[in-house]
Each structure stands twice: as structure tokens, then as C-alpha cells.
């Protein structure tokens, strides 16, 4: 837009100065390139202090006639630092434009089809550039790469299992039983981020049998499929005030991802190779045994311990299982370029990463092709973005179970003198101390997720008319996200917990396949009208319609009692089949008016209307209004050009957005049963409500953005308050009604918080630059109204600590039984962090760059049940220490057991604060002269370096990592730990070559 306007302006000015050109014959010409030597088209070239100017052509060349020499030319272009050049004679000018550090912060999306300059935005929209995302180090998944980079986001990894499983909460908990994960939109395509539990694991572990029906299989979430290297920028709309334009899907926030596009000019080829390894962050440690302690685990164990000690056979099984160094190998190749209105970007990546447990790992291959083409005299533009992903994750067998079979739970009672290694024939002995032999489980089982995903989006933009002061543009876009997820679980019959010689009720081998097919499609059409008045008021109007369809079908087949060593699902005596389907259709419209008065006052009003088949009345419209105002005080002339303050904006925004009731909340549907060959139907656990309404979030945010000393210091402070009304609760119901739960719109919650960002360019010189930035944010939540009785959710009951929804209390409070009082519930913790702070630093000395990111999460509690399970097995590392019991009488293990026996959950609630060196990278860029000498111009850039993730981790939490979630990524209950897959740190060496 900006470029087109300036071209028009350029033409006008050229016409205006035509007589002058006839008089003054001095013509300046030259070529503009970027630092890699690529030509830069569309650079504005203006003679300083005049309106005389031009733009560079596709090859970066320009010619400009000037009346007099010497003169100063000003070169500016979106994405580059503005430069001045003093022309003293008519010789050809060659200039290298430096990419702007804030290049990607220039515009902010404010409408479904429009964006505004960031300096005019009324919302605090976080942006993450490609450099910030992947420039320091390569993360395994996209959401992992966002940790510590977004003010207002709590990003939690569920486990260290390869292949992801991450929750992102923007500005607190926004839903209790509905979706609380943001909406992801990649190049206009709604992409699916489901976590789909596979088949078979729960069948073996029985994790959900004991009481909590949530998924404890720890599936990965599907945003992990995106390749971070393909991403140009990410914008995060953190609440309804910015996300109202996304209507009924915007309440949990929206993550808008733009992938890389080709740039006109020479074909650019980049090649990137990382190799490295990962290793466990922290061992829990094993109890320091002696004869008496061993004997206390059962008669005879003391002697077994001594024998093993004397024969040097004591094994630290924790290190045996988690002590591997996983090999990391990432390769990325991209080719981009284009000319004459056609641009392309093509990329291929291969990421391979082994886990810290043998036979676990992750392999992802992605192919991307983005094409943009302009036609009809540049009035029309068509874009196609396509992406294919194939990923395979081997995730091991961890987390909670009720059968003692996961590797994690087996370790809780396995002692160092247990004999678990296979004999010379490969036969594993039974573990006498647990229901399974964790070495055997690790070596023989398969738990694999395979994804094949194809995402394609297209858009067509057409300038219906375009005059000096008005324009009308039509935009059509659409996209499809299709994936098939296959989960494969194989538990061979030799396993201790499958072998019927150990227990005749063992299943004798289990083979399971889960197939999930997902197709999401979205279509939209918009008109955008722009008009400027004579006194420089600009009106941007837009209106459009949207339609989305979603369909998902998951089939799970579990075969048990297998034939020989066969694993096909027809090779079993018993087959169990299950299918879950989901379909939804949404339709919406959107209108918005934006008024910009000389960049001084920028106001926006808009409304979105949505209807959906997932509402009680599918054809009832729900309306989501928004309004905002930004005031750029620095444009009013209060400060002169030399003032320390060069930017000062006050802003306020209000918006509403919705969140659908969970799939099925409208219905009370029978579940199938089978007995004696007779198929039957039984009532479900939850009573549906056909009148259910979507949740409605109302958010108000206000803030100040300021720049000092020519923006060398930037400060952004935001306060928000958001209320979620009509909370859809799967609330407790009197179980004697036959339905222990019922869906109802029955409450309201509120989040309030502040976010502050400070950027400082500390040193700016030719040889040395130092930029630093600090993010600080905190959130407080409260259930402000609850129409149903308080209820527990996402835990294992009050005796072990549980989350509890209660009016007047924090949404994320953790309660236990009030053992000192009346035996009711009492608050014993809160998962909400006191605050988070991250500090990123970029230092460059000549060709050497160092970047690092510290991330401090202060406060926020976990429910750590791993300790208790290890205590039951008598093998906890701190079992014999005296640090917990206030009276000093009991050692930690017996103390926790004693408290457990008393129903006191307090010892299991632990502070999950951490300080991490999230990312660090040190790189060297070879200078142009070396490259020219060595490669004769074929190579434009070579970068080598080393980097690491989570290299330093400081926490007082008594397990592998305070960042953990037994119940996966959705919902309230992150932070419950039951013997997870430990998380790892990663160290990598990288080489990047640009041709």
C-alpha cells in the first residue's frame, strides 16, 4: 500500500517538476542492494527537503534528475533503515541498505483484511520476527520457540517427550472446560491445533480408570507440525480487544503467522545445517541406600543390596533410562526469488532428534512452496501458500497409570539392586520391584505418532479502482488444512505386564492403531475502501463474510491376545473399536471503520456477527463489537525535534470475542456397550444442555507507548482487564441424578494484568552494537460469579491437591483438605505465576554476534505427585533428608507419607519458579572480502556458530523440571506432575550458507 501510494506520489511529483528537469540536466543514477548483495526494488529515493523523488526498479536501479549538486538523497524502504547519501558529483551511486531492526514491527493486523502502522495501533500486539524466533537457536517446535518472547503468555511444555505437547495461555485462563488454546492462522488458513489421544495407551495404563477422565496419554499438539524456519513473522492478538474480528473463535487469543515470501531479484539459496545433542536437565536422584534402608523395603532386601554392592552390580536406573544423549540433525534448504510480478519461496527441511530415552525421537520433514503473482497491470495479485508435513514421533510410555506399567511409574519402586538387564539370549528378567521392567518396556514397545499434513491457502486481491484519494479493493481468500494422524501402539507379549505366565489376566500382547482424519476449510471475501479528505483524514472501511467448516473423525482399534509376534490388528483374539466424529460449520460477517486524523488520532469501530452449528440455535447471530482509539501525542508538536521524547502514544481498546461450548455440550447422547454379545446403550456421564450459549469475553486494554532519544529507548506498558461471561462449565451435578456432570452457562471469571516491554539500543557503533529488551508481565484471575456449587477439576482429589473453581477465588487455585480445621477444603497453592520476566540481549562485535534470552517465572505452584510415588517405593532421592517436617522428627519420605496418610496435600504442592537461559547463540559471519576471495561471488554469506536451549536452569523444584503437565496441553490443569518424560537441554552447532 505504502509503496503504491508513494509511487503515485512520485509520478505526481515528477510531473510537477517536469519543467525543472528540462532546465537542470544533472542526472543521478545508481543501484541499491541489501547486505547480501541482493538488489532492492521499490526503494523511495527523495532529494532531501524537496518532493523530488523516484523509486528503484525491479533490479534496484534508479535514475533521478536533480537541479543542483551537491545534494542529499534520502533512501527509504519498508524493512530497511532509512539512509542519506551526499551526492557531490554525477557518478553512479551504489548503496547497501541495512535491514531495519524493527522491520517487522512496522505494521499490525487490525482487520481481517487490513493492517495499520504499529505506531498507530491501539492494541499491544506482540510480534515475533523470524530472527527472534529462530535466529538464536533452533527449537524443536514452533510453540516452544515462543517461550519467553511474548509478554502476557504462559507457555508450558507438557513433557520432554520428543515431538511437542505445549500449552499457550494468553493473559490468563480464558476458559475452564472449553478451548483455552489460541486460534492459529497461517497465511489466512485456520490451522488445527488439536491434541488427539491415540489408541491403546490408556487401555494398558488404565490412567483414566481411577478417577480422572482427562487424557493422560500426553499426545502432541498439531501446531508442532509447522516449521519455524518457514516463518517470517508472528503476531499475537492476546485477547478480545484485538481479536474481536475473529468473533466466536477469538477468545483465547489469535496467533497470526506469516510465512516467508520470495523477494524480487537474484535467486537466493540458503542452506542451513545444525548438528547437536540433547541431555536431561535434571535427575531426580536415587535414595542413598544402606543395609537397614534396603531391609526396610522388605525382608531380605538388605542382603540383596549388600551382595549387589559387593559385586558392583548396583544400577542407577534413572540414569540408565534417561541418561542418553539424543542426536540432533536439522537440515534446511530454501530457494527464493522472482521477477516481473512473480515471486516464489520454496523450502525443504528435515529435522531429526533422538530423545534422552532410547527408542524415542522425532523426525519431521516439511516442504513449502509460496507463490505470489501480480497481473492485470499489477491491479490483481494472486498468492498460493502450500505446505506438506510428514512427522514421526516415538514418544515412549510415561505419565500416570493405574497398572504400574509406564516406564515412569515402574521407576518409582525399582531399586538399584534390581536385576533388569537382558541375558545373552535377549530375555529380560521380571522386575521383582514393579509390575514392569522399565528397560524391557523401553526396548520393546512402540508408541508412535505419524502425521501427514497438507495445508494450502490462496488469496486473490483486486484493485477495483484506485484514485488519488480513494481506492476500493476486493479480497478473496480460502484455505484447507488437512491432516491424517496415525497413532501406533505395540506392546509385545514378552513384556512382563503382557506375559500370561506372570499373571493369567495379562493381555498377551496389545496392538493398537488410531487414525484421525481432520479437514478444516475456511473461505472469506472482503471489500476494503479507502478515502482521504482534503484535510488529511483517512477513512478505511471494510466489510466481508467468512465461512469455516471443520470435520474430524478418529477411529481407534485395539487388538489384544496377539498371534505369535504378529502386530496387525486382525492378528488378535480380541478387537476393540471406537469412533468419534465431529463436524461444525460457522458463518460470519465483519464490518469495520477506521478513521485516521493525520496520524494524530486513530479510531476504529467494528463488529463481527457469527453463527454456528455448534450453538443451540444454529442460525442465531452472535455479535462481537470492538472499538479503539490511539493518540500519538508526539504528532501534536508538544515536543520539538530535539526533545528526548520522540514518540508518545496513549491507547485504549475494547472488544468482545466468543468461545464455543465444547463439542457435544448440546447433547445427552448414549454410549455403546456390549455384554454377552448383546450390543446396548448406556447414559453418558454428562448431561448436555440444548440451550447452551458460547462463552463471551469482554476485554478492555489501555496503555502507553513511548520512544526516547530517537527510539533508542522504547517503552510499552499495557494494562488489561478481561471478563469471561457465560462460562460453559462441565459442572458437578448430584450424581444420584444419573449424571455426575452437566454442561451449563454458569459463571464468570476475570483476568487483570499488566505487561511492560522495554527496548534499549545500548551501544550503536560501527563495530559494536548492543540491544537489550526486557519483558515483564503478570496476571491475576478470579472467579467473579459461580452459579453452581464449587467444584474440583484437573487433579486427583483433595487428598492429593486439586484445582477448584470457587467464587471469589483465583481460577487456578490449588486446594487440599483442611486437616487442621473442619476437614473441608483450604487453598494450599496457586498455579498462576507471581510474574514472569524475560531478558533478551543481542551483541554484535564486527562479524561476531552473541544473543541470549533469560526467562524468569516467579511463583506459580505445581502438584508434584512423582515424589509421593517414589516415596511409596521407598526410593526417593531425598527420602532420608530432614528438610520438610517442621518438627524435625520425620525424614522427608516418611513425612510425606505421614502427611499423605493424614489427607494433607500440602507437601505435594511445590513452588514451580524457574530461571532459565532459554536460548543462547554465538555466531560468526564471514566478511564479504573473504567470501569473494574464497568463492568468487557465488557465496554471499556464511554463518557458523553454536547455540543452546535451556542451557542453564535454576529451580528449587523437587523433580526433573517444574514445567510439566500430566493432563496435556488444554484446560486448567497444567502443572500436575506424575512421572513424566523428563525435559532436556539441547546444544547445537550450525552452519548457514547463502548463495
Amino acid at each position: 500500500m505504502k509503496q503504491k501510494n508513494s509511487r503515485i506520489r512520485t509520478i505526481l511529483t515528477l510531473l510537477l517538476f517536469f519543467p525543472c528537469i528540462l532546465i537542470a540536466q544533472t542526472s543521478l543514477s545508481g543501484k541499491i542492494t541489501d547486505k547480501s548483495g541482493m538488489s532492492v526494488p521499490f526503494v523511495n529515493v527523495v532529494e532531501k527537503g524537496t518532493t523530488n523523488g523516484t523509486t528503484t526498479n525491479m533490479d534496484g536501479d534508479f535514475t533521478l534528475a536533480v537541479p543542483n549538486l551537491p545534494t542529499t538523497l534520502v533512501f527509504s524502504s519498508l524493512g530497511f533503515e532509512t539512509q542519506e547519501y551526499n551526492a557531490v558529483n554525477g557518478s553512479s551511486i551504489t548503496l547497501t541498505m541495512a535491514e531495519s531492526a524493527q522491520a517487522l514491527e512496522e505494521v499490525v493486523i487490525t482487520g481481517l483484511a487490513t493492517s495499520v502502522k504499529r505506531s498507530n495501533s491501539a492494541n499491544a500486539v506482540s510480534q515475533v520476527s523470524a530472527e527472534e524466533l529462530t535466529g538464536t537457536t533452533a527449537n524443536q517446535t514452533l510453540d516452544g520457540a515462543l517461550q519467553g518472547k511474548i509478554a502476557g503468555a504462559l507457555v508450558t511444555k507438557s513433557s520432554g517427550a520428543p515431538g511437542g505437547g505445549i500449552s499457550i495461555r494468553l493473559r490468563g485462563v480464558t476458559s475452564i472446560n472449553g478451548n483455552s488454546q489460541p486460534l492459529y492462522i497461517v497465511d489466512g488458513v485456520y490451522v488445527n491445533n488439536s491434541s488427539i489421544a491415540g489408541a491403546g495407551l490408556n487401555f494398558i495404563s488404565g490412567a483414566a480408570a481411577g478417577g480422572n477422565a482427562s487424557s493422560q496419554d500426553n499426545p502432541s499438539n498439531r501446531i508442532a507440525d509447522l516449521n519455524p524456519d518457514d516463518i517470517e513473522s508472528i503476531e499475537i492478538l492476546k485477547g478480545a480487544s484485538a481479536a474481536a474480528i475473529y468473533g466466536s473463535r477469538g477468545a483465547a487469543g489469535v496467533v497470526i503467522i506469516t510465512t516467508k515470501k520470495g523477494k524480487a531479484g537474484k535467486t537466493k539459496i540458503t542452506f542451513k545445517q545444525d548438528v547437536g545433542f540433547n541431555s536431561i536437565i535434571n535427575y531426580r536422584g536415587v535414595r542413598d541406600f544402606n543395609f537397614d534402608r534396603a531391609e526396610s523395603l522388605g525382608e531380605g532386601n538388605g542382603q540383596l543390596y549388600l551382595n549387589a554392592l559387593n559385586e558392583g552390580r548396583l544400577v542407577d536406573y534413572e540414569r540408565e533410562i534417561f541418561g542418553e544423549k539424543g542426536f540432533i540433525n536439522n537440515t534446511a534448504v530454501s530457494v527464493s526469488g522472482g521477477k516481473e510480478g512473480t515471486l516464489y519461496y520454496a523450502a525443504f527441511t528435515n529435522n531429526e532428534e533422538d530423545g534422552i530415552v532410547k527408542n524415542t525421537g522425532y523426525n519431521k520433514k516439511t516442504i513449502r512452496l509460496n507463490i505470489d503473482h501480480k497481473f492485470l497491470d499489477d491491479r490483481a495479485k494472486v498468492s498460493i501458500n502450500s505446505n506438506y508435513v510428514n512427522s514421526v514421533g516415538d514418544r515412549g510410555f510415561f505419565n500416570n497409570d493405574n497398572t504400574g506399567t509406564t516406564i515412569g511409574v515402574a521407576l518409582t519402586s525399582t531399586v538399584p539392586w534390581a536385576i533388569l538387564q537382558p541375558d545373552e539370549n535377549g530375555v529380560y528378567p521380571n522386575n521383582q520391584f514393579a509390575a514392569s521392567n522399565p528397560l524391557q518396556t523401553r526396548d520393546l514397545i512402540t508408541n508412535r505418532e505419524t502425521v501427514n499434513r497438507f495445508t494450502v491457502g490462496g488469496s486473490l486481491e483486486y484493485d477495483i479502482f484506485k484514485y488519488d484519494n480513494s481506492s476500493l479493493k476486493a479480497i478473496l481468500n480460502g484455505g484447507v488444512d488437512f491432516f491424517s494422524l496415525q497413532t501406533r501402539a505395540i506392546f509385545p507379549k514378552e513384556l512382563q505386564f503382557q506375559d500370561q505366565r506372570n499373571d493369567p489376566t495379562n493381555l498377551n500382547g496389545v496392538s493398537a492403531i488410531g487414525d484421525s482424519n481432520n479437514k478444516d476449510a475456511n473461505y472469506a471475501a472482503f471489500l476494503v475502501h479507502n478515502i482521504s479528505t482534503d484535510n488529511n483524514i483517512n477513512f478505511t472501511s471494510q466489510a466481508g463474510v467468512t465461512k469455516q467448516t471443520f470435520s474430524q473423525s478418529t477411529e481407534r482399534i485395539i487388538a489384544s491376545d496377539l498371534i505369535g509376534s504378529e502386530f496387525n490388528i486382525d492378528q488378535g483374539a480380541n478387537v476393540n473399536v471406537n469412533q468419534v466424529r465431529f463436524e461444525q460449520e460457522d458463518f460470519g460477517f465483519f464490518v469495520q471503520e477506521e478513521i485516521n486524523y493525520q496520524d494524530k488520532l486513530i479510531g476504529t469501530l467494528g463488529v463481527r456477527g457469527d453463527k454456528s452449528s455448534n450453538n443451540g440455535d444454529a442460525n442465531e447471530f452472535f455479535f462481537f463489537p470492538k472499538g479503539s482509539l490511539a493518540i500519538n501525542l508526539n504528532k501534536f508538536g508538544f515536543w520539538n525535534d530535539n526533545s528526548a521524547v520522540n514518540r508518545f502514544k496513549l491507547r485504549a481498546a475494547y472488544g468482545e470475542a466468543g468461545n464455543f461450548a465444547p463439542n457435544g455440550a448440546l447433547f445427552t447422547g448414549y454410549i455403546n456397550s456390549l455384554i454377552g454379545g448383546n450390543v446396548g446403550i448406556v447414559v453418558p456421564g454428562t448431561l448436555g444442555d440444548p440451550t447452551i450459549q458460547p462463552e463471551r469475553q469482554k476485554e478492555f486494554e489501555t496503555g502507553v507507548d513511548a520512544g526516547f532519544f530517537n527510539n533508542r529507548i522504547g517503552l510499552e506498558v499495557t494494562y488489561y482487564i478481561k471478563t469471561v461471561e457465560d462460562l460453559v462449565l462441565q459442572a458437578n451435578n448430584e450424581p444420584s441424578s444419573g449424571f455426575p456432570f452437566r454442561f451449563a452457562n454458569a459463571g464468570e471469571l476475570q483476568n487483570k494484568g499488566i505487561e511492560a516491554t522495554l527496548n534499549v539500543a545500548v551501544v550503536e557503533s560501527d563495530n559494536f552494537t548492543y540491544d537489550t529488551s526486557v519483558l515483564f508481565f503478570r496476571n491475576r484471575s478470579e472467579i467473579t460469579r459461580l452459579d453452581v456449587d464449587p467444584f474440583n477439576t484437573g487433579g486427583f482429589g483433595t487428598g492429593l491437591g486439586t484445582f477448584r473453581i470457587e467464587e471469589g477465588q483465583s481460577v487456578t487455585q490449588i486446594v487440599g483438605r483442611d486437616v487442621d480445621g473442619d476437614g473441608g477444603t483450604v487453598k494450599i497453592g496457586d498455579a498462576e505465576p507471581d510474574f514472569q520476566l524475560s531478558w533478551s540481549n543481542n551483541l554484535r562485535y564486527k562479524n561476531l554476534t552473541l544473543a541470549f534470552l533469560w526467562h524468569w517465572k516467579k511463583g506459580g505452584d505445581n502438584i508434584n505427585l512423582s515424589n509421593l510415588l517414589f516415596d511409596f517405593g521407598g526410593v526417593t532421592g531425598d527420602y532420608d533428608d530432614f528438610t520438610l517436617d517442621p518438627s524435625g522428627e520425620l525424614a522427608n519420605g516418611p513425612y510425606r507419607l505421614d502427611r499423605f496418610g493424614a489427607g494433607d496435600a500440602r507437601p505435594f504442592v511445590e513452588d514451580a519458579s524457574y530461571i532459565r537461559l532459554r536460548e543462547i547463540g554465538l555466531y560468526y559471519n564471514f566478511s564479504d572480502t573473504i567470501l569473494r576471495t574464497a568463492f568468487g561471488g557465488y557465496v554471499s554469506n556464511i554463518k557458523v556458530g553454536a547455540s543452546a536451549n535451556n542451557l542453564i536452569n535454576i529451580f528449587d523444584y523437587n523433580s526433573y523440571d517444574p514445567e510439566v503437565s500430566n493432563f496435556g496441553s488444554n484446560g486448567l490443569s497444567t502443572g500436575v506432575e506424575v512421572t513424566p518424560f523428563p525435559s532436556s537441554k539441547r546444544i547445537m552447532f550450525s552452519l548457514a550458507v547463502d548463495f
Partner: protein, 436 residues
């Protein structure tokens, strides 16, 4: 003018799209409950009744485990679920934890299954004959009574709800005695319905692991057997005798004859969760309480209900040497009520008034167990001791009979306590979500 035309086009196109109809959503994953309750068809009755028999087994394992553990019949060891050896043995029972809520909820869910059928039957436009309708009511009310009795076993004097037809307007909590009276009367109604339907066919399959119950009059013997148990709990021994007369009691007959829950590993069917190997580790084990072996009479063949472990097993300061051995495979059926219990109920019905009949019944059980006939005193107190002793071994591990029986005779203090601080719970608390 041109400009206004364009706005008009925009406005019209928005209105056009806004009028797009979105199809109403549907539940794609199962029939809705209202499809049964508003009008029950023959086909639906067949599916809905199969669901009722299937759902009788839901949480059966947990209810059996909890009541057996409290009654010190066996210990449940599960490495990842410590509360089996904590709360259940210390009597520190939580009103909102799985061992309280899950069995309770499952029983009422099945009562909802039944109530939806009874409602649908009343509203049915299908061609059910009066006899078919009566037999359906008889079977469903019998099972409903059984489910209510299971709840009353859990709640005991805390009381319970009986009328739960309308989920938005539940009936009151009534006392234990009132609950048993209501259950008894429900069984009486069921018997009347079944008798009225005698000679006809039940319009669905009765799935109790025994073909003898598949006709209205055959099923009535099961109804009466349950009634005998209820009346014994109420102490109405005359009614016990009457009910036993109409039941499938056969003193001297096969003691295992009776009604069973059946299991399989096929499809959506479920396995018998009570089956577990003798030698499993503390990760997942059912360990016979040591007193079972210590107290057993020499030569009692019921010793086979436990198996000696290769090695002793210890968890949470509890050590045992015998694993449970009642169910060998995970598709073995689990008894609902069987002849052995009826024989002992007949002994109980007679111990105060007819010692000879009581001893005859006792001896039927003793003989079957390889023991010599009873030679002890025949005063009521001695006979009661003997009946309870035999019942402990005859119904060992079959649903918590020992706890229930000792409780109704005020003898819970006779149960052995294994660790300092252990206590015997009298009953489960009312689930917190009942808001009582």
C-alpha cells in the same frame, strides 16, 4: 452517485451472505437419551436393556475392592494409587474421591438407564402386550432395586435418595431403614409384575449368565433371592423365609448356581477387573488378608480361594503371602447372588426360631467345603457366630459381605487392625456433590 452504488452493492452482498442458513448441529456419536424416553420401540428396548445389564458391571471392581478392603478380606496394592492402603484402612474416607463417588455414580447412572426405559415404556407407541410390558417392568425394577441396594450398602446410615426420576428435581434423602423398605417394596412390585406375565416371553434378552432367569417366572426367582437378602438386612426373618421359598434356593444343590455378571474381551465389552495373578508385584496386586489363612479350619477346601505367593509382598507396611485366586481369568463371571448365599440366608432366617433347619443349612455349606457337619452349640449366639464364620469363607471377596454382615450385627470391632492408626470405616460419606 457511482460511489453510493458501490456501497449498495456491498450492503446487498452482506445481507445476502448473512441470510445463509447454517445447518443445525447433530450429535454424531450416539443416540440421544430423549429418543428412548419419549417413545420406546421394540428394537430400542433390546439395546437399552442390554445396556442395563452391561452397566451393572460399571465400577463393580472398585466397589468390591473398597468393601472387601474395609472388611479386611484382602488388600488392594496399586503402586500408583496409594489410597487403597491409606484412606480405606484408616477410615479416613473422603466424600469427593474416586472410591466414594465412582461406585455411587455408576449405580445411579444405571438407575437412570432403567428410569429412561420405564418412562419410554409408559410412552411407547409400539405394540407391547400388557404381559410384555409387565415383564419388562418386573425385570427393570428388580435390577433397579439391586442397584439401590448396592448404594445403601455403601451409604448405610448416611441414607440415600430413592426417587431420582427427574434429574432436575430429585427426591429427598431417606434413612437407611426407609431406603431398605422402599427397595423391598420395589421388589414386591417386580414380583407381582413378573407373576402377572408368567407364561409369556420377556421382549429382550436377560443377561445374567444363566438361562434359568430368561422367562418371567424364572426371573422372579432372582427377584425373590434379592428380596431375601434385603429382608435379612432388615432383620425380617419371616419375610426372608417367604422370599427364599420363591427363590432359586436349593439346599444341598449346586452352591454356585445363581446370577452372574459376565465378561469378555470383545469390542466394547469389559474384562473382569477383579481377576489378577497370585504373584503380581506391588504395582498391581490383591493380597489376601493374613487372617483368612490363619483362621481357616483344617481341610476347608475354600483355601483354594487364595494362592501362596512365591515371595511375600510388602507395601505401605502391609505384608502378605497369599494372592487372591477367586478369578483365574479376566473373563470369569462374577456372582450377583448365588445359592451358597441363599443357603446361609436360610440358616440365618432360622437360627433364632428353628436351630435344626439352621444347622441343616450350615451343614450343606460345610459339607461342600470338605468340612465335617456342625457339632457346636445350637443356641442363637453360637449359631450366629457359625453362620457369620461360614459366610466369611463362602462369600470371600465377593462384594464385601463380611463388612456388611459384621456391621449389621454391630461386630465391626472384630475385624483385625494391622497398623497403628488403622480403623474400620462404618460407611462411606455422602458424595460431596450431593450437597447434603
Amino acid at each position: 452517485m457511482k460511489k453510493y452504488n458501490r456501497y449498495l452493492i456491498v450492503a446487498i452482498s452482506i445481507l445476502f451472505f448473512a441470510s445463509c442458513e447454517v445447518e443445525e448441529g447433530a450429535n454424531l456419536n450416539g443416540a440421544s437419551t430423549s429418543s428412548i424416553s419419549t417413545d420406546l420401540s421394540r428394537g430400542e428396548l433390546i439395546n437399552a436393556s442390554a445396556g442395563v445389564f452391561a452397566a451393572m458391571r460399571t465400577q463393580l471392581t472398585l466397589q468390591t475392592d473398597t468393601q472387601s478392603v474395609i472388611g479386611r478380606e484382602y488388600w488392594r496394592f496399586q503402586a500408583s494409587e496409594p489410597r487403597y492402603t491409606a484412606d480405606l484402612l484408616t477410615a479416613n474416607l473422603d466424600s469427593n474421591t474416586f472410591y466414594t463417588t465412582n461406585p455411587y455414580t455408576a449405580r445411579y447412572a444405571n438407575i437412570k438407564n432403567i428410569n429412561l426405559i420405564l418412562e419410554g415404556l409408559a410412552n411407547s407407541t409400539a405394540d407391547f402386550s400388557d404381559a410384555e410390558a409387565a415383564s419388562t417392568r418386573g425385570v427393570m425394577n428388580t435390577i433397579k432395586a439391586h442397584e439401590l441396594l448396592m448404594v445403601s450398602n455403601q451409604m448405610f446410615q448416611n441414607g440415600m435418595r430413592i426417587n431420582v426420576v427427574d434429574e432436575d428435581n430429585l427426591g429427598p434423602f431417606v434413612s437407611y431403614d426407609e431406603a431398605l423398605a422402599a427397595i423391598s417394596s420395589l421388589l414386591a412390585d417386580a414380583s407381582n409384575d413378573l407373576n402377572a406375565a408368567a407364561g409369556t416371553t420377556i421382549p429382550f434378552t436377560v443377561i445374567l449368565g444363566n438361562d434359568a432367569f430368561s422367562t418371567p417366572s424364572g426371573f422372579a426367582t432372582f427377584t425373590s433371592a434379592i428380596r431375601a437378602r434385603v429382608e435379612a438386612y432388615r432383620g425380617n426373618y419371616g419375610e426372608v423365609s417367604n422370599a427364599l421359598n420363591n427363590s432359586f434356593l436349593n439346599i444341598g444343590g449346586d452352591l454356585t448356581n445363581g446370577a452372574y455378571h459376565v465378561f469378555s474381551l470383545t469390542g466394547a465389552d469389559i474384562p473382569n477387573g477383579l481377576a489378577v495373578g497370585i504373584n503380581t508385584t506391588s504395582g498391581n496386586a490383591r493380597v489376601a488378608h493374613p487372617s483368612f489363612v490363619q483362621d481357616i479350619l483344617p481341610g476347608d477346601t475354600r483355601i483354594s480361594k487364595v494362592g501362596a505367593r512365591d515371595e511375600s509382598i510388602t507395601l505401605d507396611n502391609l505384608t502378605g503371602n497369599f494372592g487372591m485366586n477367586i478369578y483365574i481369568s479376566n473373563i470369569d463371571p462374577v456372582a450377583i447372588i448365588r445359592n451358597e448365599e441363599l443357603v446361609l440366608l436360610s440358616a440365618e432366617a432360622n437360627y433364632q426360631t428353628n436351630p435344626v433347619a439352621a444347622v441343616a443349612a450350615i451343614d450343606a455349606v460345610r459339607t461342600a467345603a470338605g468340612l465335617t457337619p456342625y457339632t457346636g452349640a445350637t443356641d442363637p449366639a453360637s449359631l450366629l457366630n457359625e453362620i457369620l464364620f461360614q459366610k466369611r469363607y463362602s462369600l470371600f471377596g465377593e462384594g464385601g459381605h463380611r463388612w456388611i454382615d459384621l456391621r449389621r450385627f454391630g461386630r465391626l470391632d472384630q475385624l483385625p487392625l494391622d497398623r497403628a492408626g488403622d480403623q474400620v470405616a462404618m460407611m462411606f460419606p455422602i458424595p460431596e456433590n450431593e450437597n447434603q
